[in-house]
């Protein structure tokens, strides 16, 4: 595919970012407040510029560096640098309201995704999630999950679940591993439907769950129209590619499965209805007899599911098997690429 973005994602985002929506909420300065008149007259020029900014901001992006508006309230603060501006206060309130809503989303879906389980914040380095803070294309958001256990930790990883909180089908995929997996990195592309926390929840062999999260600003990924390449994806339905990067010195490989991965939420221009969901539901990648990883995935995985993962090339062949929601099975075996 020509428009595949690299699976290596840039910025590491393991702490949630405050959502700052482009349309900044604006509250008008109360010009009629008694006692404010003198202060306003004294700073008329600054205020005029600020008012112009207020009127402008309603339609455009919030911009840093505009002249501050005198803070409203009985404290009678005058305009000047260093005070929290009116806009910052209302932005912060909106952000806090949104943050509360987002925590409410996680609280609502968590019992369905992890019934009856305790989930701890992952210890440093145990689970790392890389995601762009702001996605270029909400239908193809590159995510990298890195799992690692310290040498003195006897456990191994059983699975990792990727959740996109605000997606209508929040469980993007659950990836399970063969026994003894202690160090694994996985990259894939997902759809993000609105500004959302993305979470990786890893399960270790003792049954404990470890979570880390990142915040991604994106919208409309699940309903984004299928790409021009989608007709291609259907023509080449189930075609697979496997590539080992051992030659370039990287212990990684990549698997791609051609598939439209229709979410069921994409509108069909012709019928004005929704293109029915049709997506890869299961993937299994084996190296010889050993399971490298298996995926149980949903509509949040992007068109043409592509996975980059830790891989030590050997002579053993790599077998890939995928099954979609129409119960079509695709499978292919590739040379291991090593010796």
């Amino acid at each position: 595919m020509t428009r595949t973005p690299p699976l290596r994602t840039p910025a590491l985002r393991t702490t949630p970012r405050r959502a700052t929506r482009p349309k900044a909420p604006v509250r008008r300065a109360p010009l009629s407040m008694p006692g404010a008149g003198l202060a306003l007259a004294a700073t008329a020029l600054g205020l005029a510029v600020a008012l112009a900014a207020l009127v402008g901001v309603g339609e455009g992006r919030a911009q840093a560096g505009r002249a501050p508006v005198p803070a409203s309230g009985a404290s009678g603060e005058t305009a000047g640098g260093g005070q929290a501006t009116q806009r910052e206060i209302t932005e912060r309130e909106a952000t806090e309201r949104e943050a509360t809503e987002r925590e409410a989303t996680w609280a609502a879906i968590r019992p369905d995704l992890f019934p009856g389980k305790a989930i701890a914040e992952a210890a440093d380095g145990l689970v790392t999630l890389s995601a762009p803070g702001r996605a270029e294309d909400a239908a193809i958001v590159p995510i990298t999950i890195a799992l690692g256990l310290p040498a003195d930790d006897p456990r191994s990883f059983r699975s990792v679940t990727l959740v996109v909180d605000e997606n209508p089908a929040p469980m993007a995929g659950r990836f399970t591993f063969g026994p003894g997996q202690r160090d694994f990195t996985l990259s894939l592309r997902v759809r993000v439907n609105s500004y959302s926390f993305v979470r990786a929840v890893a399960e270790t062999s003792d049954g404990a769950l470890h979570m880390t999260k990142a915040f991604v600003k994106a919208a409309g990924g699940c309903s984004a129209p299928a790409t021009k390449d989608t007709a291609e994806s259907i023509t080449h339905l189930g075609d697979m590619r496997f590539r080992s990067f051992a030659g370039s010195g990287r212990a990684e490989a990549q698997v791609q499965i051609r598939h439209p991965n229709f979410s069921g939420l994409q509108m069909d221009e012709a019928t004005r209805g929704y293109t029915p969901a049709w997506f890869v539901r299961e993937v299994e990648v084996r190296q010889g007899d050993r399971l490298l990883f298996a995926m149980e995935g949903g509509i949040s995985v992007s068109e043409d599911p592509t996975f980059r993962f830790s891989y030590r090339a050997s002579a053993e062949p790599v077998a890939v098997r995928a099954e979609d929601t129409e119960n079509k099975v695709f499978s292919k075996t590739f040379p291991g690429g090593g010796s």
Binding site: A52, G56, L113, P168, G264, A277, T325
Partner: protein
Amino acid sequence: MLLFALLPARPAAAGEPPPEPADYRQDAYRAPTPATLAGARVLAVDAAAAIWRAGGAFFIDVLPRPPRPANLPAGTVWRDPPHASIPGAVWLANVGFGALSADTEAYFRAGLAEVSRGDVNAPLVIFCQRECWMSWNAAKRALAYGYRNVSWFPDGTDGWAQAGLPLAPLEPRP
């Protein structure tokens, strides 16, 4: 007043609202909307709030909500995001697209007829979110259906919330 004398003639960074197209908006729905809708009254938040408080008008939310696909694997966790709207409003989901399927068209007509009790002069206030063409489309379509007292409230639930007005959870009309 000294203030207004010093105001520049036009906003510093804002673009002009786009002109009204002749037909419905067909794509890129989240974008700046026109300042007008021919045949409808355009309401700012204060006016919409006053109408809401006075009662008697029917508020219609046209926010899209994609329906759950029929063929998801058993056990798929699905979550329709909760929607908080103007209290007392009726939510006719997905009627704001530029072109409607026959089913959606029928749903819209039936929803309007029910809300208005068949009275084409019933006051309708149509909204979704700020900078969304869907409410403009829906209001335009209501006018095309023959409703005569159509108001378009472009700031929608965004403007309503910022003005500190109450919101209430709402489910789409089935």
